[in-house]
């Protein structure tokens, strides 16, 4: 009886969460929805070079992560972003970090400060400045950190997942669902991504 109840409870919770996922209508911000083709870009990296998605000939996909120096949530996730890059770059899904903030509004997010941060933290991935803030609105990034998983297809770079890295910014040890890892793993295996959109508190991008 007890097992039965637990099972039922699980079934109900699962149904409820799948319903709420459906309710979460696409376009909660004006950017991309799952299945859209994402634009490429050419943005300046902290090493001075311009970086585009198309530079990565062998890539199977990309983790485009809008993040910045100053937001406490972005800072809380820096080590986890490095770990994602280390895990998935060799599987063909590198991290491309983009700072979308306007340095005039948020001086500590300026290009020089980005260089310092990348150096201090030992970023293993490009950290690009969205100079002129042209790219983040196309993606529909609203806050930092905000992840867009793209899959390279014949038609272009298809958006497969939008949202948070995992379900516990405070304490990595207490994470129960690793949204991004689950999404990349499913994508690489050609399987359906069970949770393809998530929400998280974050710092509004400064324009």
């Amino acid at each position: 009886m007890k097992t039965m109840k637990t099972l039922l409870l699980l079934a109900i919770v699962a149904t409820m969460s799948s319903l709420s996922a459906k309710d979460r209508e696409p376009g909660y911000d004006d950017g991309y929805e799952i299945g859209d083709l994402a634009t490429d870009f050419s943005l300046k990296n902290v090493d001075g070079r311009m970086v585009s998605l198309s530079d990565y000939k062998e890539a199977r996909g990309y983790l485009v992560i809008f993040t910045c120096n100053t937001c406490p949530y972005a800072q809380a996730y820096e080590d986890r972003i490095i770990a994602l890059d280390q895990k998935y770059k060799k599987q063909g899904v590198p991290v491309i970090a983009i700072n979308p903030n306007n340095p005039e509004k948020s001086p500590k997010d300026g290009f020089e400060a980005m260089k310092v941060r990348a150096e201090e933290k030992g970023f293993t991935f490009p950290y690009l400045l969205d100079d002129g803030q042209k790219i983040f609105p196309k993606y529909g990034a609203a806050r930092t950190p905000h992840v867009f998983l793209l899959e390279k297809t014949k038609a272009g770079n298809e958006v497969k997942y939008i949202g948070a890295i995992d379900d516990n910014y405070q304490d990595e040890a207490s994470v129960e669902t690793r949204y991004v890892e689950d999404a990349v793993n499913a994508m690489l295996r050609g399987k359906e991504i069970r949770i393809n959109t998530t929400k998280a508190i974050g710092c509004r991008i400064k324009i």
Partner: protein, 186 residues
């Protein structure tokens, strides 16, 4: 099969168990002090209630005659801090007209004693301040508003008839207009 039906019924019952706070709210005045926090942070002069979402959710559904202005903010969010004086002014000018401002801090638990309490001591806010500390954000953000991306500042204005949600910074005039628009529709 019978077992199944019984179990479903049982589970639904568990979900629908009535909430004593809601009954009380339906009866008329609501005392916000009756909402039990998960824990309290304090220094000598200031004390703030900290809630998880399950405990906090009732602040979003108070069904008395007041209008509630619920602002989500944090001390690290500069645009949030910049608009706090407008919420304070609204609380001052509209409190006797049945408006209650509640400032919901999303400061991280490690920052409460270091940042939030000194901030509150310095600013001497007149509005009620509570802390919402619940890492399962993907679960609770849509329950505040399905349109909310999670960026702050964000503000919910509601009374027992209407609700409006704003994911943006506001000037005092915008805030006042939004409040009056909601109440004019009553």
């Amino acid at each position: 099969m019978k077992l199944l039906v019984t179990s479903v019924f049982f589970v639904i019952l568990t979900f629908c168990k009535t909430d004593p706070g809601k009954d009380k709210a339906a009866a008329g005045e609501t005392s916000l002090a009756d909402f039990p926090p998960k824990y309290i942070v304090s220094n000598d002069s200031i004390k703030v209630d900290v809630y998880d979402f399950a405990g906090f959710e009732r602040f979003l559904y108070i069904k008395d005659n007041k209008t509630y202005v619920i602002n989500f903010w944090a001390t690290w969010c500069r645009p949030c801090v910049a608009e706090l004086p407008y919420f304070e002014r609204l609380q001052k000018e509209y409190n006797d007209k049945g408006v209650e401002v509640i400032l919901v801090s999303l400061d991280m638990p490690g920052m409460l004693e270091k940042k939030l309490l000194p901030f509150l001591r310095e600013k001497k806010l007149r509005s009620k301040v509570v802390v919402l500390n619940d890492p399962k954000q993907n679960d609770w953000i849509p329950k505040v508003n399905t349109e909310w991306s999670g960026a702050i500042p964000a503000t919910l204005i509601y009374n027992k008839e209407n609700r409006a949600f704003y994911e943006s910074s506001m000037t005092y005039e915008e805030l006042e207009n939004n409040l009056n628009t909601l109440n004019d529709n009553r």
